[in-house]
């Protein structure tokens, strides 16, 4: 038991040590605290992985967390096959990124702080995936949001960084609003928040309705949709995707770890974890699938025209997360988790490699000021190519297997599935195009930056390149645990491993259909690359011409469909104005304070009139008294 509790606890201890003593004592040796902790977690996670490999589940209640009446929730850990995979993803990516950060953050004055936050993040993420009930998961869920806030705003003296952190936290809160209500509704329905208890009863509540705010709605659907709200926020799906691109204000290792490999996949993890609930509700499943599919396309189109290297990858992340939800929505839970797992490797790789570029160019992120870097940074270039081949889904790189599995499962899922498959395939085409565009703009052609920058161009140090190379191996080979039966019998190791938790996907197709899907997706992957090559290497003026020919479209995409502006004018500004002018200015200051101050004022006016009676002369007081006494006497006398 202690072994499993230690998995999240080690990073927490490292966090406490670093945050308390980092500033004055540890300073630039913070990684000596952080890295042993995460390596310890990694080793324990590997051990836990083998403990559950046989199909058993570890479920521990550490202590009673909140007890109030019949509401009883414990702080407990559960490790099943899904958690085991997540543990590996988190700790492996975490370890590599910790090592990478040693080089990347070297010399930063917040060095100790950076590692402290990273440790806290790993702790939170581990709690999120290891919780054995919804409230512990919610704990981790919010805590990763907190760490994300700290790390996005790490360079807090930049206004944009502070804004982005704040935005991330608040947008996530909108999602958590739904998640929290979902958790409450789950307890009211099932009488427990334990995963085992809830999922065990899921079937018996299918089809029941509940009166929610006056509408008669399907109970399980409502719960699923509320939970999905949380997933939409955390995993940056439409319409709450706006925070993720801004989150790129954080240091690059953070973007890699949190905003690509681990935290943003928490939504996918959560939906996968709740699969027994979701499969009871076709409406919720379709919602998940459609939101995922639309987000995949939506984000990919924006990525086509962005010039900031990290933003391109950020939109690509949003798009890939859309893929994962698409998979979950068509019932291919293991395919979604498989993509989550491969994505962690190649997206972390892409981010870290772009970090290497940014590092070499002294914090230049605009691709228009790059170009021709391949001769200066051969290793970075090589791993970037590997990452791109993986994300675009070229055989036999990792992305190929997972992406293909998703498209194939979508293809099998009825009419709606065909439509989703089409969305996914188009998104694959766009992905290929913008990924190669990024490579060509960054590494090919001539260097377009300042001569000062050119003078300093160099390959990054080993502490940066070694993690890149390890991740590159992952980006190539991570997919080989999920080879479809088409290529190899019993090749889908990960699907079988996850089957106790996520079940087997339904639907069967012919080999011919499967070849068709594989063929199309490979074709569009290559096609996107060729188009990008033509536009950005061969005839570099085409891109500009197209942009000016379709100016409104370009502007729309370049400005991210104006979603931020929409929220600003419809939500933020009205709230700000209303709070200042209407609520504070009118209701509070005018009406309530008017009454409150008005009553004393009226009394004041009255008493100023009344006080003139007070002459200050004894005689008149005495006379008044006497007359008064006489009146009373007279009244009593004549009354009889």
């Amino acid at each position: 038991m202690i072994k499993y509790t230690l998995i999240p606890l080690l990073p927490l201890i490292a966090f406490v040590i670093n945050i308390l003593f980092g500033r004055n004592y540890i300073r630039d040796k913070a990684h000596w605290v952080a890295i042993p902790a995460i390596v310890g977690s990694l080793l324990l996670a590997i051990s836990a992985f083998f403990d559950v490999a046989g199909g058993n589940v570890i479920n521990i209640n550490v202590y009673d967390w909140i007890v109030s009446g019949d509401f009883n929730v414990s702080a407990g850990l559960m490790i099943d096959q899904l958690t085991a995979i997540m543990l590996l993803v988190v700790t492996i990516c975490g370890t590599l990124i910790f090592i990478y950060s040693v080089g990347y953050m070297h010399g930063d004055e917040g060095y100790y702080r950076f590692f402290a936050y990273l440790c806290l993040f790993i702790f939170s993420m581990l709690v999120l995936v290891m919780g054995n009930n919804f409230l512990v998961m919610y704990f981790g869920w919010e805590a990763v949001g907190l760490c994300s806030y700290f790390l996005i705003g790490f360079w807090f003296n930049k206004k944009s960084a502070g804004d982005a952190g704040k935005k991330a936290f608040i947008v996530n809160r909108f999602g958590d609003f739904g998640f929290g209500l979902g958790v409450i509704l789950i307890f009211l329905t099932f009488g427990t928040l334990d995963f085992v208890g809830v999922f065990g009863q899921a079937g018996s509540f299918a089809g029941q309705t509940i009166n929610f705010l006056g509408w008669e709605v399907d109970l399980v659907t409502l719960i699923c949709l509320l939970l999905f709200c949380g997933a939409v926020g955390k995993s940056a799906q439409l319409p709450l995707h706006v925070w993720l691109p801004d989150a790129m204000e954080g240091p690059t290792p953070v973007s890699a770890l949190i905003h690509a490999a681990t935290m943003v996949t928490a939504g996918v993890f959560m939906v996968a974890r709740c699969n027994p609930l979701f499969i009871e509700s076709p409406i919720a499943m379709n919602t998940v699938a459609i939101v995922g599919g639309v987000t995949a396309i939506f984000a990919a189109t924006i990525a086509l025209v962005q010039n900031d290297i990290k933003r391109v990858i950020a939109y690509s992340t949003v798009s890939q997360l859309g893929y994962m939800f698409l998979a979950l929505g068509v019932g291919a839970f293991s395919a979604g988790v498989f993509h989550l797992y491969t994505h962690a490797f190649f997206k972390a790789l892409l981010f870290l490699a772009s970090g290497s570029v940014i590092h070499a160019l002294h914090n230049e992120q605009d691709m228009r000021n790059m170009g021709g870097l391949k001769k200066y940074m051969p290793i970075t270039y090589a791993v970037f190519i590997i990452g791109t081949l993986s994300i675009t889904g070229i055989f036999p790189f990792a992305g190929f297997f997972s992406k293909d599995e998703i498209l194939w499962r979508a293809f099998l899922a009825g009419d709606m599935g065909k439509f989703l498959w089409l969305l996914g395939t188009i998104a694959a085409l766009l992905t290929s195009f913008y990924s190669w565009r990024l490579i060509f703009m960054t590494f090919h052609g001539d260097f377009r930056g300042t001569s000062e920058q050119e003078h300093h161009l160099h390959e990054s140090p080993k502490v940066i390149t070694v993690p890149l190379m390890i991740l590159a191996v992952g980006a190539v080979a991570a997919g080989w645990v999920g080879i479809p039966p088409l290529f190899m019998e019993h090749g889908d190791k990960i699907g079988e491993f996850l089957a106790p938790v996520l079940g087997h996907p339904s639907g069967h197709g012919t080999h011919a259909q499967e070849w068709f899907v594989v063929g199309i997706s490979s074709l569009v992957a290559v096609l996107g690359g060729i188009v990008a090559y033509v536009m950005y290497v061969k005839k570099t003026d085409i891109a500009g011409k197209i942009a000016s020919a379709f100016k409104p479209v370009h502007a729309l995409l370049y400005n991210k469909y104006y979603v931020d502006e929409l929220y600003d004018t419809t939500l933020i500004q009205p709230v700000m104005k209303a709070s200042d002018k209407v609520i504070l200015g009118f209701i509070d200051k005018t009406i309530i304070e008017g009454i409150v101050n008005g009553i004393p004022n009226v009394i004041g006016v009255f008493s100023r009139k009344l006080r003139t009676i007070q002459t200050g002369v004894f005689g008149s007081y005495g006379l008044a008294m006497t007359v008064g006494a006489l009146c009373i006497i007279g009244y009593l006398f004549f009354q009889r």
């Binding site: 006080r611 003139t612 009676i613 007070q614 002459t615 200050g616 002369v617 004894f618 005689g619 005495g622 006379l623 006497t626």
Partner: protein
Amino acid sequence: MVPLSWYIILSAVLFCIGVFGFLARRNMIVMFISIELMLNAVNISLVAFSHYLQQVTGQILVFFVITVAAAEAAIGLAILIAYYKNNPTVKADDASLMKG
């Protein structure tokens, strides 16, 4: 045996003198004495009724009144002296600090 009505008349006369003195005179000392006069007028009637009704309550009340009168005189004169130190006058009309 002096009939009760004589005491009542004496009391009423003394009281009226007191009231007149309080209202008509401007010397604060005299006003004080007038107040004492009124109190004592009441005392006379209380004692008279007490004797007439053969009840001791009235006489007890007189002791209360005398005590209060003594306290009042003490405090009142003290105030007066303090006042006189600031304003060397005993004319009541000059003391109009309490004018609203």
